[in-house]
Amino acid sequence: MTIKNFRKMTRAELMERYSLTEEDKYLLDELEAVEEEVSQIIAKEGEK
C-alpha cells in the first residue's frame, strides 16, 4: 500500500512512546536510525 502520512518520530516522541530515558541512549540512537531509514524507503516509494 502507498503510505501517505508518515512522519519521523523525534527523539522526545520516541522516549515517550517506548517509556525511555536519556540513559537508554543507544536504544534511542537505534530507534532514530530506524526512523530515518523508514523515512527514506517511504520517500523512494513515493517517487515511483
Binding site: I3, E23, Y26, L27, E30, A33, V34, E35, V38, I41
Partner: protein, 382 residues
C-alpha cells in the same frame, strides 16, 4: 599453514568423514555473558554496535575456540517496536520468552480453513503494536519499522562476526541456512504454547494432525526457496517437544512430519544441524533414520549410546554439561572432558561444545571454559 586454514581443515575433515588432527572446539558464550563479563550495562549497551564489538572482542581473546565463540540470542529493537508478547525484556535487560498462546484451542477450524489469513491474525495477536494500530497505514508503517530494525540487527551482528573472524582467524565452517522448527514444535512455539499443544493431542487429535500437515507443507515450500548450499552450510533445527511426548504420540504427531522435512532437505543436498534437546535415548531407532551427514548436537542423551548408534553416519557434538563449567574445579572439569572424549572422540566425527551455551555470566566460570578447551586441544589429538 595459517591458523584459519588449520581450523577450517579440522571441520573439512569432519564433513568429509576423515579423522581431523584433533577434536575441533566450538565452545561459545552468549553476547549477554560477554557484556556482563566486560562490566557493560546489559540494559543500555546491548543496543550499541561498538560496545557489543568491544565486549565480543574482549571475551574472544580469552576463549580459544576454533569458531567465533560469541552468539547473539537477543534481537531487541524489533521486539520493542512491535510490542512482542513472546520476546519481553526484563528489568535487568535480559530477554524473556513467556509461554503465551495466541491461538485458542477452539480455533483449529479457522487455522485449517484459511492458513494464510489465520497467520496474519496470529501475527497481530503476538504483537501489541500491530493489534493497536488505528488503521491499515499505521500497521504498514509499524511493520516496515520492524523489518528495518531486523535488517539493521543482522547487519550489526554480521559486521561484528566478520571483524572477529578476520582478527582471530576462525574457521567459518558452519554458516546458517536458516532455522526451521519441526512442524509439531512450530505448532507449540508459534500458536498453542507448550502446554496447549500437548493438551490438544488428546482432546482434538484430528485437528492437530491437519494443522501440523499445513505447517509441514509450508516448511517444505520454504525449502525450495532457500539458496544453494555450500560446504558447512546447514539448516538449524532445535527439537523441543519430542521428549515430552509418549512414544505413540511422537510416532503419530511429531516424527513423520520431521522426517518428511529432513528427507526432502537431503534430496536437495541440504545438510542439517539438529539440536536434540533433553534426553533422546529412547528415540535412537528413529534418529537412525535421519539422512546421513547431519550434525547432531545433544543435551542429556547418553553419549555412549549416541556414538554407537549414530557416530558412523553423522557428526556429533554437545553432551558436556554446562553445570560442570559452572560448578566444578578446574581439575574436575579437565577430568570430565577426558572422560567424554574417551567415549565420543575415537574415529573422529565429534565437535566439542557444552550441552547448552552459557547465556549469562553465572552459567559458567570462564576459567573452566578455558580449561575445557585446553584439555580438548591436548587430549583430543588423534
Amino acid at each position: 599453514m595459517d591458523l584459519k586454514e588449520y581450523r577450517t581443515g579440522l571441520y573439512h575433515a569432519l564433513w568429509t568423514r576423515q579423522i581431523p588432527d584433533r577434536v575441533p572446539v566450538a565452545q561459545g558464550v552468549d553476547i549477554v555473558y560477554a557484556l556482563q563479563y566486560g562490566g557493560y550495562s546489559l540494559l543500555r549497551d546491548q543496543y550499541s554496535a561498538e560496545k557489543c564489538y568491544e565486549a565480543v572482542d574482549n571475551i574472544t581473546a580469552l576463549i580459544d575456540s576454533d569458531v567465533a565463540p560469541v552468539g547473539f540470542s537477543a534481537n531487541g529493537v524489533p521486539a520493542i517496536i512491535s510490542g512482542s508478547k513472546i520476546n519481553v525484556m526484563g528489568k535487568d535487560g535480559f530477554w524473556q520468552h513467556p509461554n503465551y498462546a495466541p491461538m485458542k484451542d477452539t480455533e483449529y477450524p479457522e487455522f485449517i480453513n484459511n492458513f494464510a489469513e489465520f497467520n496474519n491474525l496470529v501475527d497481530m495477536r503476538l504483537n501489541s503494536a500491530y493489534e493497536n494500530a488505528k488503521d491499515e497505514e499505521e500497521l504498514a508503517i509499524t511493520k516496515l519499522r520492524v523489518q528495518v530494525a531486523t535488517q539493521r540487527h543482522f547487519k550489526k551482528t554480521a559486521s561484528i562476526a566478520a571483524r572477529i573472524n578476520e582478527k582471530y582467524q576462525f574457521a567459518t565452517h558452519e554458516r546458517s541456512l536458516g532455522t526451521t522448527l519441526s512442524p509439531f514444535d512450530n505448532l507449540s512455539n508459534r500458536y498453542r504454547s507448550f502446554t496447549g499443544a500437548l493438551n490438544d493431542l488428546r482432546r482434538r487429535p484430528e485437528e492437530v494432525l491437519a494443522a501440523v500437515r499445513l505447517i509441514c507443507d509450508n516448511n517444505l515450500r520454504r525449502l525450495d526457496t532457500m539458496p544453494e548450499p555450500q560446504e558447512g552450510q546447514r539448516i538449524f533445527m532445535p527439537l523441543h517437544l519430542a521428549t515430552f511426548m509418549k512414544e505413540s504420540d511422537f510416532k503419530k504427531f511429531w516424527w513423520p512430519f520431521f522426517k518428511e522435512f529432513v528427507d526432502k532437505a537431503a534430496s536437495q543436498n541440504r545438510r542439517l544441524f539438529i539440536f536434540c534437546e533433553d534426553k533422546w535415548d529412547r528415540y535412537m531407532d528413529y534418529l537412525e533414520e535421519v539422512p546421513e551427514d547431519a550434525h547432531i548436537m545433544f543435551e542429556y542423551t547418553d553419549p555412549r549410546l549416541a556414538k554407537e548408534r549414530l557416530g558412523k553416519n553423522h557428526v556429533l557434538s554437545g553432551f558436556f554439561s554446562v553445570d560442570i563449567l559452572k560448578n566444578a574445579t578446574k581439575e574436575k572439569c579437565a577430568d570430565e572432558v577426558k572422560k567424554l572424549l574417551d567415549i565420543v572422540a575415537p574415529g573422529g566425527g565429534y565437535i566439542f561444545k557444552s550441552d547448552k551455551g552459557p547465556l549469562i555470566l553465572g552459567d559458567a566460570k570462564l576459567e573452566n571454559i578455558q580449561t575445557a578447551i585446553a584439555t580438548v586441544k591436548e587430549y583430543g589429538k588423534y
